[in-house]
């Protein structure tokens, strides 16, 4: 009888066979490299997680502004004018574009606004 369980089980069987084949006959492999595992990568991943956590708390404008500035800084951009210009242009541009399309971005929990953000889903 085919039920909700059947297909996942078939995939599991097929996947296990492939994994076994992979262990038994590991393909020759040369990494495309050279890859440098670096602090920038960790910084960017941490930054994305922070952005995910703070987007609805701080609101779109604040969170995005901070996220972009920090991202540029982590990657070694040091010219303040360039950082400021790109950040402001992108954040404001995206905000007004979405406003024009009547898509509500999170305003931030601290503004007490009910638009966007966590409250909208209730």
């Amino acid at each position: 009888m085919f039920n909700a369980r059947s297909f996942p089980i078939l995939i599991a069987i097929g996947g296990s066979i492939l994994a076994l084949l992979f262990i038994m006959f590991p393909p020759a492999f040369e990494p495309e490299g050279p890859f440098v595992f670096n602090i920038e990568l960790i910084g960017l991943v941490a930054l994305m997680l922070l952005y995910a956590g703070l987007l609805e708390q701080l609101g779109f404008v604040l969170a995005t502004g901070l996220f972009l500035c920090a991202g540029f800084l982590v990657l070694g951009e040091r010219r303040p004018v360039r950082i400021g210009l790109v950040t402001v242009a992108l954040t404001a541009g995206f905000y007004f574009l979405m406003a024009a399309l009547e898509i509500h971005l999170p305003q931030g929990a601290w503004t007490g606004s009910w638009e966007g953000g966590v409250m909208e889903r209730f």
């Binding site: 909700a4 297909f7 393909p27 930054l47 996220f67 991202g71 990657l75 070694g76 979405m98 966007g116």
Partner: protein, 498 residues
């Protein structure tokens, strides 16, 4: 068919839809030109914008983005030898040589523009002739045939994978299939692999997976590859023109490559990469004493892969529009978009949604035309984008990927999930696992299960449906041959080397 073309024309030739073609081509070119971002990322980034659109308008825009992204990718291959996708690797051989060593970036870009235009247009003509015919045949297909055809599509992807990657491609396909089972099972109404979380009840969105495995993980890859020296682009200053002798030299090449490219593109799994390499090799073997040599800036060596690449992309629409089975990562995303618009892809598409079917085809002609008209004068300016430092580019890609996902669900859970997907994809890519099979498996997973269930129901739970009709036996045979082809090839090469 004339009715269909007229219907397509009346749909596309409104100011609104024409603007969408134009916008799609322009945005696609810009995104595709950025190093690392190919058509898959470009389409994924644009999908959230199209959610409110009519299905035909949405598809028109996305098709424009697709062509634009391919063209943009060729531009960055030619100017900085950084092919964004595998499909334009062959373009870089002679294109970069012509732009760099010979110092003719304008001539190289013009060749690429005309070759892709001709390739795309010729292939669109072939599509017009073959697609309705194929769709007609496929109307008689049953669930068992569909099931086997999807399995065939998935196996072909691994068979066409590069040497040593067959098993990896298959494993990624299975991972994609497994991910597609997350969420509520629609027949039984049971939750699967949701870990009791509300956020996973609807499953993982294909958009999230596409952005995570392509755009976002590509941005992280750029961070890993940081000490690869960045090349300064040779930006053309003069207009993009071709001399008469150039045109005469490439016309036969383009014609051959377009036809070859189209038919390779129709095969699921083969696609643009194989088409471009095949036609490059073909032209190389045809030419006697070429000057300059292939690989050193030969104009035919540039025109051939460009024409084939574009023709193959058009060809890959054939299985998508007629069977509802995507043959490549890019068409898999387009299929995902179709489903998101509430359209059931498959052979009935041409009957039920003729507007979508025909407007996509008509928009291909217009898209190619617009690309040529738009890009020939603008490329010298657009190419300045290649000067954008990675310290600016990477955060921008991160922002657009995350916002694209957030704007669909307004759920921050998806933001955490895309970071997880991107980091996992990064690890897998470093280990040499290809990502396109994952997407293909993910998109086909649901339909595969559905058709398997129906086939099994019809045959009372009996697996003999696989061998009880000639068509299924043939398909099954091809699948087995496909899956064994790497092994057979290995055995043959061992036997001949002795």
């Amino acid at each position: 068919m004339i009715d269909g073309i007229l219907l397509g024309l009346t749909t596309v030739l409104t100011l609104y839809n024409l603007t969408l073609v134009l916008v799609g081509c322009a945005v696609g070119t810009i995104i595709g030109m950025l190093p690392g971002l190919g058509p898959i990322s470009a389409i994924a980034l644009m999908i959230p914008i199209t959610y409110g659109f009519e299905p035909s308008s949405g598809m028109i825009l996305l098709a424009g983005v697709y062509y634009g992204a391919i063209f943009g990718g060729s531009t960055s291959s030619i100017l900085i030898n950084a092919p964004g996708v595998a499909g334009t690797v062959a373009t870089a051989f002679d294109g970069y040589a012509m732009a760099g060593q010979l110092g003719q970036p304008g001539r190289a870009l013009a060749t690429a523009a005309y070759a892709s235009f001709a390739g795309g247009t010729l292939a669109a003509l072939l599509l017009l002739l073959t697609a309705p015919f194929l769709a007609d045949i496929s109307l008689s297909f049953q669930s068992a045939d569909y099931f086997l055809m999807m399995v065939l599509g998935l196996s072909l992807v691994s068979a066409f994978a590069s040497e040593g990657e067959h098993l990896k491609a298959l494993i990624m396909t299975f991972l994609g299939l497994a991910l597609s089972t997350v969420g509520t099972d629609l027949t039984a109404g049971v939750q699967r692999f949701t870990f009791g979380r509300m956020d996973l009840i609807d499953g993982i969105s294909f958009l999230l997976l596409a952005m995570g495995t392509f755009a976002l993980s590509e941005a992280l890859m750029m961070v890993l590859r940081r000490n690869k020296s960045e090349k300064a682009p040779t930006i053309p200053t003069s207009g993009l023109r071709l001399s008469k002798s150039d045109v005469n030299a490439i016309v036969p090449t383009i014609t051959r490559s377009s036809i070859l490219g189209f038919f390779v593109g129709v095969l699921p799994g083969a696609g643009a990469t194989i088409a471009s390499f095949l036609s490059y090799g073909f032209e190389k073997s045809l030419a006697r004493d070429p000057t300059p040599k292939f690989g050193q800036g030969n104009i035919k060596g540039l025109a051939a892969p460009e024409a084939a690449n574009n023709a193959a992309c058009t060809g890959s629409f054939v299985p998508l529009l007629t069977l509802g089975i995507p043959g490549s990562g890019t068409t898999a995303i387009l299929l995902g978009a179709l489903i998101a618009y509430g359209i059931q892809p498959g052979p009935r598409l041409i009957v039920d949604e003729p507007q979508v079917f025909w407007s996509v085809i008509v928009s291909m002609y217009l898209g190619n035309l617009f690309l040529l008209a738009l890009n020939l004068p603008l490329i010298p300016y657009l190419a300045r984008l290649l000067l954008m430092p990675r310290s600016i580019l990477i955060p921008l890609i991160m922002f657009f990927s995350m916002m694209g996902v957030y704007l669909v669900s307004f759920n921050t859970f998806d933001l955490y999930l895309i970071v997880l997907v991107a980091v996992s994809a990064l690890v897998l890519r470093v280990l040499g696992f290809p990502m396109a099979p994952l997407l293909l498996g993910f998109i086909l997973g649901g339909m595969l299960e559905d058709n398997l269930r129906r086939a099994l129901t019809v045959s009372d739970g009996n697996w003999t449906f696989l061998i009880d009709r000639p068509i299924t036996i043939v398909l099954l045979g091809i699948i087995i041959l496909t899956l064994l082809s790497p092994v057979i090839r290995r055995l043959v090469s061992v036997a001949t080397s002795r």
